[in-house]
């Protein structure tokens, strides 16, 4: 019984392998990807909660369905080094947990990706913070990716911006962001991990301060025609506005709750990870 199962199993595997090889070969075949009950431009459910790390100045936890990211902000705090600063120093550090992705081997040494993404997030946020208000201090942002199911950058930027707001740092505007994957003929907003790792696709990330109508970050990697780029950027900008409204609503809600809590004189924060 067991033997027959094994044979069957191996056959199945081989077929799969063959299919995959074919897929690789015919690069130009359009890839058909099914989204579960979701249109191309539809976002997944977003859950936001700020102020959950008691030891940080500000913090935010975000869930985009399975993607889970926690961000905490320390500062503005005094700098250990006695450097001359006109404005506050702004640091950003993104880290993946070792179990955040389902890749078999975790490479402890490879942190270039983390460093690169930290830089992109930093660039996206730095324009929104009024650094000149806090001379001789440091604002540190730490982001931890708990579970990666695509769209980590958007989750991180959103969480970081919310955490900055939670910390009470003066800002021009909050930064909303949106990313998409462009296949041959489709533009998929809010991609999942599976969609992000499809071959022959292009990823676009846009971060924006909606109130000032300024794009603070734009990253594209892959090969696209001019018109598609413009189209994708436009779509993402619209996506940013949607995210922004969610962020705004959440911030107002949490502030109202804080005020209420203050009246009741109890501030129990509950971190729930479902």
């Amino acid at each position: 019984m067991r033997g027959s199962f094994r044979l069957f199993y191996i056959q199945k595997k081989k077929e799969q392998q063959k299919n995959e090889q074919n897929e690789n070969k015919n690069n130009n075949n359009s890839i058909d990807i099914q989204r579960n009950n979701r249109s191309d431009e539809q976002f997944r459910q977003i859950f936001l909660k700020s102020g959950i790390v008691s030891q940080a100045s500000g913090s935010c936890y975000i869930e985009i369905e399975k993607t889970k990211v926690l961000c905490s902000v320390h500062g503005p705090r005094a700098s250990h080094k006695t450097e001359e600063f006109v404005a506050a120093k702004f640091n950003c550090e993104l880290k993946y947990t070792t179990f955040s992705s389902s890749v078999d081997k975790y490479d402890y040494t490879e942190n270039n990706k983390e460093k690169d993404q930290s830089l992109i997030i930093r660039e996206a946020l730095i324009g929104s913070v009024r650094l000149e208000k806090y001379p001789k201090t440091v604002i540190d942002i730490y982001i931890l990716v708990l579970n990666d199911d695509g769209n980590v950058m958007v989750a991180s930027i959103t969480a970081a911006s919310m955490a900055l707001a939670d910390a009470g740092v003066e800002m021009y505007d909050m930064v909303a962001s949106c990313s998409s994957v462009c296949t041959k003929d489709r533009i998929l907003l809010d991609p999942s991990y599976q969609e992000e790792s499809l071959p022959n696709t292009t990823n676009i990330l846009v971060a924006k301060m909606p109130a000032l109508n300024q794009v603070t970050q734009l990253v594209q990697s892959g090969d696209l025609s001019y018109n598609t780029v413009i189209e994708a950027v436009d779509l993402n900008i619209d996506g940013c506005d949607k995210i922004y409204s969610i962020m705004k609503q959440n911030l107002i809600d949490s502030l109202e709750k804080q005020l209420k809590d203050k009246d009741n004189n109890n501030n129990n924060n509950n971190m729930d990870i479902k």
């Binding site: 030891q55 905490s72 320390h74 730490y142 931890l144 924060n269 971190m271 990870i273 479902k274």
Partner: protein
């Protein structure tokens, strides 16, 4: 009042402790609300999330397949535990190098894993055990408000109970396949029930908060299993401890075991 707390934290605490109450409203023996949930991380083969008051840790287990080396096989372990106290949980930690505290806790956790008596056969990838599963347990502290030891031990035991390993198939001696439809869990024979105390002057505080830990002269952590056997006892500090206090601490933990057991078990059901 806040200024008093900042300038003379010890004096501030003493005023409270002399009346057998703590600034956060707990009595000396009260333990903060503890909650455990499992399976939140979909990319890990087992995960748990533990919260004691504000302190929260998340624990995920990554599985790797490896061929065991045949030298001193009795020494080998298949589970490696690591605790990360990063800057995300508190501003006292830096991201550049692991703190001594994290290293010391990690080594304690690693020794505790051996107390679970997980049979060797459970790590077999195939039937014969030529190839084994290696589990990497990483515990990340998300919010540090004291008593990280209890939180990480609870996270460790509940995430290990949550582990689901796929059935492995070996083909052509070096091609490994995982059958993700047939999942099995590990056979874990024991529980671990931790409780930590901080001693500030002559007061013994169960489940210390961050500030209580900083003010404390000594720290005591005890871990029992379901047979009331000691799995870990660690006491260190500036003041020596008497036998009677030790005995009292054990009693406190004994009273809590039933509750912890139900917490760990019910977390698995969801």
């Amino acid at each position: 009042m806040e200024a008093f707390q900042k300038i003379h934290p010890l004096e501030f605490y003493r005023k409270f402790l002399q009346r057998s109450v703590r600034p956060d409203g707990r009595s000396l023996n009260d333990i903060r609300k503890t909650s455990i949930s499992t399976g939140a991380i979909t990319t890990a083969c087992g995960s748990s999330f533990v919260k004691i008051g504000n302190t929260s840790v998340i624990c995920g287990i990554r599985s790797e397949v490896g061929i065991p080396s045949f030298e001193n096989t009795d020494q080998q372990t298949n589970i490696f535990v690591n605790l990360e106290l990063g800057p995300i949980c508190s501003n006292i930690y830096s991201s550049t190098k692991p703190s001594e505290q994290a290293m010391s806790l990690s080594s304690k956790l690693n020794s505790l894993v051996k107390r679970l008596d997980i049979p060797k056969e459970d790590f077999y990838f195939d039937q014969e055990g030529k190839v084994l599963w290696y589990l990497y347990v990483d515990i990340y502290c998300l919010d540090y408000d004291g008593n990280i030891m209890d939180a990480s031990i609870l996270a460790l035991i509940s995430s290990l109970k949550n582990v689901k390993l796929p059935r492995g198939i070996i083909e052509n001696t070096n091609e490994y396949y995982k059958d993700t439809e047939q999942l099995r869990s590990l056979q874990i024979n024991h529980y671990l029930f931790p409780l930590s105390f901080s001693i500030i002057e002559d007061f013994i505080l169960s489940d210390p908060s961050n500030q209580e830990e900083q003010l404390s002269t000594s720290n005591l952590t005890i871990t029992l299993n379901e047979n009331f056997e000691i799995c870990l006892l660690s006491y260190s500090g500036i003041k020596p401890i008497s036998e009677t206090i030790l005995q009292e601490s054990f009693e406190k933990l004994k009273n809590r075991i039933e509750y912890l057991k139900s917490l760990i078990d019910s977390a698995q059901e969801h």
